[in-house]
Symmetry: D2
Subunit: 345 residues, 4 copies
Amino acid sequence: MLKIAIAGATGYTGAELIRLLLRHSKVELVGVTSEQSAGEKITNRLPFLTGLCDLTLEKLDPVRLANQADLIFCALSHTQGMHAVREWIDAGKTVIDLSADFRLKSAKTYETWYNAPHHAPELLQKAVYGLPELYREEISFGKGVRLIANPGCYPTGTLLPLYPFLKSGEVDTAREIVIDAKSGITGAGRTPKDHTHFPQVNEGLVAYNIGTHRHLPEIEQQIASFNAKVIFTPYLLPINRGILTTLYLPLKHPLSQNELKLILSDQYKNEPFIRLIDSPPNLKDVTGSNFCDIAVFATEGGRMAILISAIDNLVKGASGQAIQNMNLVMGWNEREGLDGPGLYP
Amino acid sequence: MLKIAIAGATGYTGAELIRLLLRHSKVELVGVTSEQSAGEKITNRLPFLTGLCDLTLEKLDPVRLANQADLIFCALSHTQGMHAVREWIDAGKTVIDLSADFRLKSAKTYETWYNAPHHAPELLQKAVYGLPELYREEISFGKGVRLIANPGCYPTGTLLPLYPFLKSGEVDTAREIVIDAKSGITGAGRTPKDHTHFPQVNEGLVAYNIGTHRHLPEIEQQIASFNAKVIFTPYLLPINRGILTTLYLPLKHPLSQNELKLILSDQYKNEPFIRLIDSPPNLKDVTGSNFCDIAVFATEGGRMAILISAIDNLVKGASGQAIQNMNLVMGWNEREGLDGPGLYP
Amino acid sequence: MLKIAIAGATGYTGAELIRLLLRHSKVELVGVTSEQSAGEKITNRLPFLTGLCDLTLEKLDPVRLANQADLIFCALSHTQGMHAVREWIDAGKTVIDLSADFRLKSAKTYETWYNAPHHAPELLQKAVYGLPELYREEISFGKGVRLIANPGCYPTGTLLPLYPFLKSGEVDTAREIVIDAKSGITGAGRTPKDHTHFPQVNEGLVAYNIGTHRHLPEIEQQIASFNAKVIFTPYLLPINRGILTTLYLPLKHPLSQNELKLILSDQYKNEPFIRLIDSPPNLKDVTGSNFCDIAVFATEGGRMAILISAIDNLVKGASGQAIQNMNLVMGWNEREGLDGPGLYP
Amino acid sequence: MLKIAIAGATGYTGAELIRLLLRHSKVELVGVTSEQSAGEKITNRLPFLTGLCDLTLEKLDPVRLANQADLIFCALSHTQGMHAVREWIDAGKTVIDLSADFRLKSAKTYETWYNAPHHAPELLQKAVYGLPELYREEISFGKGVRLIANPGCYPTGTLLPLYPFLKSGEVDTAREIVIDAKSGITGAGRTPKDHTHFPQVNEGLVAYNIGTHRHLPEIEQQIASFNAKVIFTPYLLPINRGILTTLYLPLKHPLSQNELKLILSDQYKNEPFIRLIDSPPNLKDVTGSNFCDIAVFATEGGRMAILISAIDNLVKGASGQAIQNMNLVMGWNEREGLDGPGLYP
């Protein structure tokens, strides 16, 4: 059994990691940290785990954690885990970082977008971007990767549908690609804020950070070689889980519905967690699962395609993808612990 | 007091008409119809009106209704009220029709999109499209209009932000205008269906009728003279009320944030129900009110603008707008009965 | 026009006061305070008021407020307004306090339950408990009352159905009265907390403060003369507005459904804001209105009655009732500004 | 691998059976029926199963199903499966019936409450009531039971907390036990109705079937030997899953908090799916899991105890419990396929 620790275990991605790891046959959870609740049983903060996990939360002590665990999921907020990650890497551990700290290849870009210095810039080039559908080979066992930068939730929901079309050469990059992405509130984390207070959210819908969201440079970095321009509008959606991303894709030449579908299926026909469907994806159908459902629709005249993807932001958009990355890094079955449907309804 | 009747009073737009008319100082509600519940007190079907409205529901009898009322709101489903509307017009009454039956100018287009023959095509040219911000003069007292086709909810949320930009000549009509519009479930009416059953909707989000929604030809008709192409994607949003419409607008020339705002304020600075705001509109802020909140955002490079509007689909998107139209037709203060804020939160 | 100020205008009860006062024909809002947002336009914090209220938020300065306004609604948290209330009373103003500070007659009880000293104990006996259906005469114009302690939301939803039965002498006070009360989240105020964070609330239901809720002594004080024992369980309900209170009432003698209804109608038949109904009240039917809907149900054997009441916690449970109290104190029509239905659905 | 069929696979309990069976290591799903969607792929009706279940829906043909499967879950509405169940029993199959058809021991009581004749009364005495915590021995492998009547959701949430106290002899049966039970909307099934239409439910709360709910005789039958009287009030709660049941329990003698807890732990300390907790159970903590969380609270004076239980109505209240029953009947590990946490948040 691989020994696992989670730094930042009481946030939503931490809790989701535990939920999924409890179903994984090859790991044992040995350590969980929380700065605010150190000393408490984890079930105090996450009562849904009562009877299932008996660990006590500790303050983050990178050295002690390195002694306990072979692989560490770092589910801290950005900037909080940089030093610890370096320590773990130096101690020979494998780290899957769920924050934004190692996703951008340029420390300067990081510092511009996150208003904070980067304390481990030498690791940026060593980190692999953990989107298995695009970087499976780099991530897989045998390549020796020890730091995986787990992608952001919006980039996951955007890049999976977008990439095959960019690769196909059919996108008219002279026109903007519009990305309209609606996210459930767990995407905003567990710390209560005015804009995530129940009555402020419930029965509402609002766009935020138009043109300034920190996931924009992450998307742009991944598609940089295609010279495409994107416009990205995220929304706070009054549900717990899920990101529904609609992409309006300008095409060089009119393409039929079948030609569009072929571009997706050529890329994804053997992917375990991509489901190509014919009707518009519904967030309900992926809640709790690691699937990314994708559909494409031709428009009249054919000059644009509409792409829609649905993911659970806490699973394929965070903790499920992190486990998928762990499975690859360890040379295990990629589906281990992630198999099966989500919760419906 | 003007005598008012409502045909189809137990649907959501009918109920909302009653709610608003009870606050209106110049009208008296004298008749309400329902095919399914005729003979019952209206409070049986709409208990929120207990103590406020004592009327009994009747089957639709156009002649009797014409005898009772001076102005009739027709809140029936499309195709159900055509004959009655003709009867009322012939009897000299004023009719505000909330269905789609008199919005399209061409009976042929109607028949194509609604799969039904049009039984009163001669009225199509007489009907005025009841979007006061665009057609105030045609609607107003003195012009003698007696049939108002109250706009659809999506067209209202789309045309109000879009129109000033098309008029300005700044839109690059060689590129598509993308309309991404999220609607609360009351927009689907009161009849229970599988896709509006609570567990099917709650905690989900899904696009529907991509490229085939019946509000598309209505939008296209209104902007026909500008030669613009639109792509329209509607969604079912798990809230009761509201349509948040985001428009991605290609521009001929880069425009600054201030230039974009000026286009809106030039058009709307004196409008009683349009609020131009600087932050992204939230559906919460218009719930229950007749306001349309609009904001515009420049994008990097300036080749596109992002427009967002928020309305309550049952108020500005239906019954509130119908009362605004009544106020204009009668020569009353346009705000009468519609003043004041909505419900927050 | 009566000049009105609101201390604590950006919380939910403050916002609701403004919403309702904007429809009131006899008042003018002249001052609004907020400690956190002083200096900002109120519409910054409450954008739903855009175009309707142009006031700027000020820090609480009791003297200045007393100079501006004739009547002050104090919508601060408990303990925050005591000194100011004394100042306003001394300055000859009328104060309607929406906090808990003047509801309990005993400073000692207050200090026990609220863990804070009472700084204006001499006002406790002067304050009238503002539940008009029970204390209309004391509140009304001519009695000279200048300090009204506006009731808590749970006590309002409990006392209105309960009082007529206690008065009737039919309640078996040897057995406990069970009160099971479910409240929407606005009842917890506007300050974000872990237990009101959207994902913590949504799709959940949980009881809290069992046997220890601060509204319990308030209920007990009001029914003290009847020697009845109550058990009170409140819940956080994942909706914005409303309290549904179910009371299980032990009876001395079996009573029929008609006898039970008669007890209610004897007490309330002329009340403008009490609606006695036959089917179980639904929170939906009172949202946004000042109504309290009440139904009573006999049980098999007749030894117990089930009473259910529905109110909007922000209207009849707070700000609407405060305006009802203002209307009485001023000798105005009790319904002024409160007439009409709420929002449905 | 045990061959399994599900009659009525597209309803919510059918879908939940499939979700759970896909994680079960000892079964193979071979047949699924639906009267309305026969001939369609099951993923047409349940798209969350895309890629996971390739079965085609068939019309219910009891003989064919008996040929295909060894164990049949009957998830049809009450009265719809009686004949088929008899056929399967006669063919030597094991049947777990999730409807109400075999829960009541008296055909006459059934006919009174369900307004329908019972077509297989001879099976009523053979059926075992599938509440493992109370009837484990009767259900278990070796006893030869072949028909299990899976309990109703409300009875499960009520009996589990209630039973140990009745057994303890501490309940004062001269006074009524009050049961106040709030259920998510999936409890009402998948067929759309007016009272489950999204806008009719959302932002509301309403009691229904006061004193007349069909789960009342089921509860009464199970506690008949204790001579206790219950009052049962169910509510429609605007969430998808979960029943929170609060019981107000009259006690013969005052009991301390510790004594109350001891009664529960004596009964349940070794139960795999009962979690005894100290704080009020939250529906969020059991969503998607087979747990029943229970807490008990003493009241002042000690004459009454407050019991609260939380279950997921589709899991422990229906399909999870059905699988727990299957595990027992087959002599497997009772936790098989049901292990692990639910979805949070």
